[in-house]
Amino acid sequence: MAMVKELLRHIFRKPVTLKYPFEKSKPAEGMRGRPIWDMERCVGCELCFRDCPSGAIEMIGRGSEAEFKHHLDRCIFCGRCEEVCPTNAIKMTEDYELASYDRAEMIIDFKRTRNESI
């Protein structure tokens, strides 16, 4: 019966849980969510591809021609790619709602915009 006082104090309070997905908790500053590649800055050094512990990064082509496929279903959001990138082309965003029914939707393409006129 030692908790009765505590329980009585909470009778008229609102529940502490949030009504997700209508109410969302704000992620803490610097939370590691979905990583994004800035292809303008990428020099294709392969460091992110080589260091990725879970094999979530697929690299197509080499050097400045390289393009990426990011497998969200394999990613463990450790942020190693962001840390190792020499040109700061990779950023971890605060995007955390990444679930999907289809695994094909969880492969994110990062392509280079090619200027055909040159």
Binding site: A2, M3, E6, V16, D51, P53, G79, R80
Partner: protein, 392 residues
């Protein structure tokens, strides 16, 4: 006339266990007379996977050995590899590692208090403890960027700094936590529901605890003052004063009180570390190739003493990596605790060691020539050993 003993299988899937594990109980009426554990149902092959990855990748793999003591695993991994490399990390990095390790201890112990309350059917306490556990989870997310897999340790230091405004937020959170944890300890000491289910249940005498190599809060609840943080200080524990908590009752209640008091000590350690945080760099650069060598590291994880071993051969990958998790060290003692108790006490006694089977299960036997694979219990292994020597 004595009753015949009845064998009751428990697991691998059982409502009282959150993870698959198998125990065979021999019971006489309501009393447990013998327990035979059979481990290996959550084997994931982490050690072999570690040998196929580089040290940088292993850092994140080893972290995923456990979802609750993930920081303890990386602290031990970095300790082992830094010893082989001969790298001394900056003082600020040591303090930040200590702060995260202690925040993790608070989160793990409060998780356990909640689960123990749930096992004895006191779900009100469970809900309230877990609500307050969110405070420490949010602090961990604030400091490291993730609630569970902090990934803050790296070879040669830490990856993120603690800025002064974050330090203030941590202190504010700790003030609330301290009040709440003091209250939960009072509940544990006075509430009849808790006392009736935990006092004088699952007794582990100090001599048995030593003989069976119990570790962590289970050992300290049997009155033995053993804590790797104090006995073999690593990271910044030699510079921070703290008390090793022991209780002499040897039952589940003293395991509860040990954990409550350790949370109080952890809060004091974090406060001290934040106030005395040295300046300077947070990491040093280390080479990707690790020279030939071997090392053993010991860390006091929330559940007890964690041992890592590595052997390197001068490449970017380890030649052998081994983990000994605290739960494995506590399995013989939990069998001892269960013998002589009631069947009804099995769930709370099992939960009393804070078991984490997924981190423990890495032992399986594989015959490479015959491509055959099997798992042995301790008894089978013992018989095999005797037969093998008789043939010689």
């Amino acid at each position: 006339m004595p009753y015949p003993t009845i064998r009751i299988p428990f697991g691998p899937q059982h409502p009282a266990l959150k993870e698959p594990e198998y125990f065979m109980f021999e019971v006489e009426g309501e009393y447990v007379v013998d327990v035979k554990p059979r481990i290996g149902y959550a084997h994931r092959g982490i050690e072999k996977a570690a040998e196929n990855r580089t040290f940088i990748q292993d850092l994140y793999l080893i972290e995923h050995a456990c979802g609750i003591c993930s920081d303890a695993h990386t602290t031990c991994f970095t300790q082992v590899i830094e010893e082989i490399l001969g790298v001394d990390i900056p003082a600020r990095a040591k303090f930040i590692r200590t702060i995260i390790a202690e925040l993790e201890r608070i989160h793990s112990h409060s998780l356990w208090v909640g689960l123990a309350a749930h096992e004895i059917g006191f779900d009100t306490l469970f809900m309230y403890v877990w609500r307050d556990r969110e405070i420490v989870m949010d602090l961990l997310e604030l400091v490291s960027g993730n609630r569970v897999h902090y990934a803050i340790n790296t070879l040669g230091g830490v990856r993120r700094d603690i800025a002064p405004e974050k330090s203030e937020k941590i202190k504010k959170g700790l003030d609330v936590l301290q009040e709440r944890m003091k209250y939960y300890k009072e509940i544990g000491e006075t509430e009849q529901t808790v006392l009736k289910r935990t006092a004088k249940i699952g007794i582990l005498r100090p001599e048995d605890a030593l003989a069976l190599c119990a570790v962590g809060p289970t050992l300290r609840a049997s009155g033995i003052k053993h804590d790797v943080r104090a006995d073999d200080p690593y990271i910044a524990y030699d510079e921070i004063p703290f008390e090793v908590v022991t209780y002499d009752e040897c039952d589940v209640l003293s395991r509860l009180l040990v954990r409550c008091d350790e949370m109080r000590e952890s809060i004091n350690i974090i406060r001290y570390a934040l106030d005395h945080l040295p300046g300077g760099e947070i990491s040093v650069k280390v080479p990707r190739r690790v020279p030939e060598g071997e090392a053993v590291g010991r860390v006091e994880a929330p559940r007890g003493e964690l041992i890592h071993y590595a052997r390197t051969n001068g490449t970017t990958k380890p030649e052998r990596y081994m983990l000994r998790c605290p739960t494995l060290g506590n399995i013989p003692s939990v069998c001892k605790m269960l013998v002589g108790g009631y069947i009804a006490d099995i769930p709370i006694v099992l939960a009393g060691i804070d078991p984490c089977f997924a981190c423990m299960d890495r032992m399986a036997f594989v015959d490479v020539n015959k491509d055959k694979r099997w798992i042995w219990s301790g008894e089978e292994l013992r018989k095999y050993g005797i037969n093998w020597y008789q043939k010689e």
